[in-house]
């Protein structure tokens, strides 16, 4: 049995961190499986086999989504940043920069900086304003 998901000695890690690491490893495995099924489906000529693979890939979508939701619930900042990126239309990079700036609400993201290279946006978003 491998313990590759741990980057530090497991006995030095608190329980919640070990669980978090296991779920990160699980998330990775689900994403890999989705990619593998995608490749198999691209080359499979048997319709029945392809239908089963497509069904199996759907299971991996579900597993990946549940893993992700678990992790987001454990990391509020991650959840907050994801909230501004997931299920949005428009420019993904622009959403990412703006969401990070909103979620972190200061520090580096509040520093004036160059515009996003692709969109040209200054990344001000909804956190603008002189608030007292």
């Amino acid at each position: 049995m491998g313990f590759d998901q741990y980057h530090e000695p497991p006995h030095e890690l608190p329980d919640e961190t070990r669980t978090f690491a296991r779920m990160c490893a699980s998330l990775t495995e689900e994403a890999e499986a989705i990619g593998w099924y995608e490749q198999r489906l691209a080359v499979e000529g048997d319709g029945d086999a392809a239908a089963i693979m497509r069904d199996a890939q759907g299971e991996e979508f579900k597993h990946f989504s549940m893993d992700l939701e678990f992790l987001l619930r454990r990391k509020p900042l991650w959840r907050e940043i994801a909230r501004g990126i997931l299920f949005q239309t428009g420019d993904i990079v622009e959403h990412g920069e703006a969401s990070e700036a909103r979620a972190t609400g200061g520090g580096e993201q509040d520093e004036a900086g160059p515009a996003d290279e692709r969109s040209g946006s200054l990344g001000i978003g909804g956190d603008a304003g002189s608030v007292r």
């Binding site: 160059p114 909804g126 603008a128």
Partner: protein
């Protein structure tokens, strides 16, 4: 390259960094409305309308006995403020100059920020934007010139919202002059008026250039929505031997979902 055409401008990476940084520094404190209302987006330059969730019946139909209706949307508006930068200043910047004249950019940033604030708080009829103050279901209340009366006026507005079932926390946008008065005033006992008002509201007090008076509004969410297409960005128009002609641009719509969730205070 997108519609901003930035790669076509005769501006080095260092020059762009200077312009973007300066614009962000100038815009951030002045874009007050975004701090108080729900911010949706940015959804990109291609985003053209906000879904209102409503449809209007059409009188005609392509086929008898078939009903027809048309979805209603709120179109986004585009704001654009032009500015110039001297070509010599940009060359000096590349040599390491730190005193480049960016006055034209600063003025453009202020103009477009004020335009956004005015649209959100006072409204913009041609753009179909009903401002928070203009759309309010409540009669404007006096804020007055005397800061002694500010706590009473703000508390009255909060009570009005509470009485109407509009929960908090509440925030307040303050025009330049009343804001100055608030931050410079200490009440009896040395307590800052700013702190007193903040305690009444339970939310932020925001400096809002372009706003006449003040607006107290609920920040519980869902009452006011700023729908951002393209967030503030600098684009390139043209250049000659003397200057580079640029602009700051943004697209947005603003929707008042609950007219009873804001109260205007007049001076």
């Amino acid at each position: 390259m997108n519609h901003l055409l930035r790669p076509l401008a005769p501006i080095s990476d260092s020059g762009w960094e200077l312009l973007d940084s300066e614009a962000k520094q100038r815009l951030t404190p002045a874009l007050a409305a975004r701090r108080l209302v729900d911010f949706s987006g940015p959804h990109g330059w291609e985003h053209s309308a906000t879904n209102l969730g409503r449809a209007e019946a059409l009188v005609t139909s392509p086929q008898g006995d078939v009903g027809a209706s048309r979805r209603q949307v709120l179109p986004l508006v585009e704001l654009r403020a032009d500015f110039t930068v001297a070509a010599q200043d940009l060359r000096d910047r590349d040599r390491g100059a730190t005193d480049v004249d960016l006055g034209s950019l600063d003025e453009a940033a202020h103009r477009i920020a004020v335009a956004e604030n005015v649209a959100v708080f006072h409204g913009w009829e041609e753009a179909q934007i009903a401002g928070i103050a203009g759309a309010s279901a409540h009669e404007p209340r006096p804020l007055g010139d005397d800061t002694d009366g500010y706590p009473r006026a703000v508390a009255g507005a909060v009570e009005l919202l509470l009485g109407g079932g509009v929960g908090g926390p509440y925030g307040m946008a303050l025009g330049r002059e009343p804001y100055r008065r608030v931050v410079e005033t200490a009440e009896h006992g040395g307590h800052l008026l700013l702190d007193h008002l903040r305690k009444i509201l339970g939310g932020p007090i925001v400096w809002t250039p372009g706003l006449d008076g003040a607006v107290v509004l609920s920040m519980r969410g869902g009452d006011f929505v700023y729908d951002c297409g393209q967030d503030m960005s600098i684009g390139y128009a043209r250049h000659d031997t003397e200057a580079v002609y640029l602009y700051i641009e943004a697209s947005f719509s603003f929707l008042v979902a609950s007219p009873d969730a804001g109260v205007a205070l007049t001076v």
